[in-house]
Symmetry: C2
Subunit: 329 residues, 2 copies
């Protein structure tokens, strides 16, 4: 069976996703799927190829791999697209371009897999309800903890009641704080994070706690079945954490971590001093973690929380799970 | 739709499972399932009731809730059973009674959900292949880390390649070691574990590392697609760990933990000294954890690893996932 996809964004994450499609061709074949990327839409390119864009070439350059189109909405309406893969960087002010593209896809009967936080952090319930109404899939594992299945975990825990969620949800800030413990200044640590490709395009999104807050909103809505938005989160970032404070914490066998938590409508992102007996204490570098307080006790999941390949894997796992869900494979 | 189940074993776990069925009736109704327990088979009771055994009464006493039957194999062959729920305590010598019961169920076209480690630790591949051949479900989340989804996690991580697994897989020994750090003697700590219902019926299974080894075999076979058996594991337990050794570790900012690990055909269970920067360091009491080294980094899952309700929840989650899988709900 042929499935046709439209990719939004083709930066590091989008290209990593393409490489995963190439590498895991056999897995798709095993479930009898030929997955064709027929459209790639970026700031610079508007590429359509009805026979499928050659991904092994696309990873290096998008030139000459198809024809140019005018309107992405038109592509979604007329070109028999099955999946919109959204790797766009969307604005935390209005959720665009992801918000409109996801709506357009769902309204055209197209399943959506997104790694873009802003649309879901601002319009969660609207988008989930639209997907439900159109009987289409909307998956978003890649938005939280990249490929570490903080979102998809819910599916293997049926009837679980979660009372509280606590997490270290931003890789960049955790990386910076770890580097500061090792002796780096804030600026040098941030530079290092950028160099390694962990930081968001605009690093203030990480540092001011907005990225953590967006992920917290998405987790809270997922596990509590709520309709929180970014504006419901009390946010403090790590921008004012000094080297002195980090050293002071180290001296007291503590660590400063940017903690996101939600309990009874209180959504908070703020730096916290953690003692060395806290299970989060040893979550260092770009690692993230999330802890769920449930009626059966406390469950912790930790793993990489950033990196293009990890985020792409989040989308790839969503794709495989979607196909299994739709076609019962 | 009516689904008919046979329950093997009705001790603490079996009764907890019954209470979960009662409590979560609405969740089953929502997926249009009426789940009837028509048979309960224990050492003492052989109870059959075609209309469904009244579970709210059964939790207190099995007397007068149905008719007595002679042969469980006969029930499975003739009474339209859909699910065998195996809560038996099976022997680590031969896997019985679980091994034969699971085979009988699958051969009669009955789906199996088991929390019984021994059959899978001794005959993993045979049972998995039999289920595949009969096109029936064999699920076993409850065998490892009880309700914390160490087994089912695999399903939301498609195409993941695991190179190494390391875990604290036995709640009782971890509880005992934690209590010894707090000043308890080994014997007092074990007594406490028994009192709280954490220890296996025969606590030497926990203490000698056999329970951990069985779980390691099950995880390794699940994630590596192998056919290891209990005899492939090099096992040392905590029976010879002295109070002095525990105190010495504490003095060195270390902790002794019973670690199960597998890498390249080396399956090992042994007490290990962990430094305080180890992510396992703060896994205390009956909590368990498992760490997977994958091509996308290291993923850690931790949570309760023992307790009747948690184990029953493992089986309950398997049941819901099975129903979704079979009927695509």
């Amino acid at each position: 069976m042929e499935l046709r996809a439209c990719l939004i964004g083709f930066g590091k994450v989008g290209r990593s996703f393409a490489s995963l499609l190439i590498k895991n061709k056999k897995i798709l074949e095993k479930i009898n799927v030929e997955f064709k990327v027929v459209c790639i839409y970026t700031r610079k390119y508007r590429l359509f190829n009805d026979k499928g864009i050659e991904l092994d070439k696309a990873i290096f350059s998008l030139d000459n791999l198809g024809e140019r189109f005018d309107d992405i909405n038109d592509i979604m309406a007329t070109k028999n697209i099955d999946f919109l893969m959204d790797f766009s960087v969307s604005s935390f002010t209005n959720g665009e371009p992801g918000y409109s593209l996801i709506k357009c896809a769902l309204n055209n009967g197209i399943n959506v897999i997104t790694v873009s936080k802003a649309p879901l952090a601002l319009h969660f319930r609207e988008l989930i309800e639209l997907a439900k109404k159109r009987n289409k899939i909307l998956r978003y594992q890649g938005t939280v903890m990249s490929g570490t299945p903080a979102v998809n975990l819910k599916e293997i825990l049926p009837s679980l009641v979660v009372d509280k969620i606590r997490g270290i949800l931003n890789g960049t800030t955790n990386f910076i704080l770890t580097k500061m413990e090792e002796g780096f200044t804030f600026e040098d640590a941030l530079f290092e994070a950028k160099k390694l490709g962990y930081a968001e395009e605009d690093p203030s999104i990480d540092i001011k706690g907005i990225d953590s807050a967006a992920k917290l909103v998405i987790l809270a809505n997922t596990y509590f079945d709520e309709n929180y938005s970014l504006e419901n989160v009390k946010i403090s970032g790590i921008e004012s954490i000094s080297k002195g404070q980090v050293d002071e914490a180290t001296k007291n066998k503590s660590r400063i971590k940017l903690i996101a938590s939600v309990e009874k409508d209180n959504l908070i992102v703020q730096p916290k001093m953690l003692k060395d007996d806290d299970i989060f204490f040893n979550i260092i570098g770009i690692n993230n973690c999330v802890e769920f307080d449930t009626q059966y006790g406390r469950i912790l999941l930790s793993g990489p929380g950033a990196g293009a390949l990890n985020t792409a894997y989040g989308a790839f796992s969503d794709l495989i799970l979607s196909i299994k869900q739709i076609f019962n494979r």
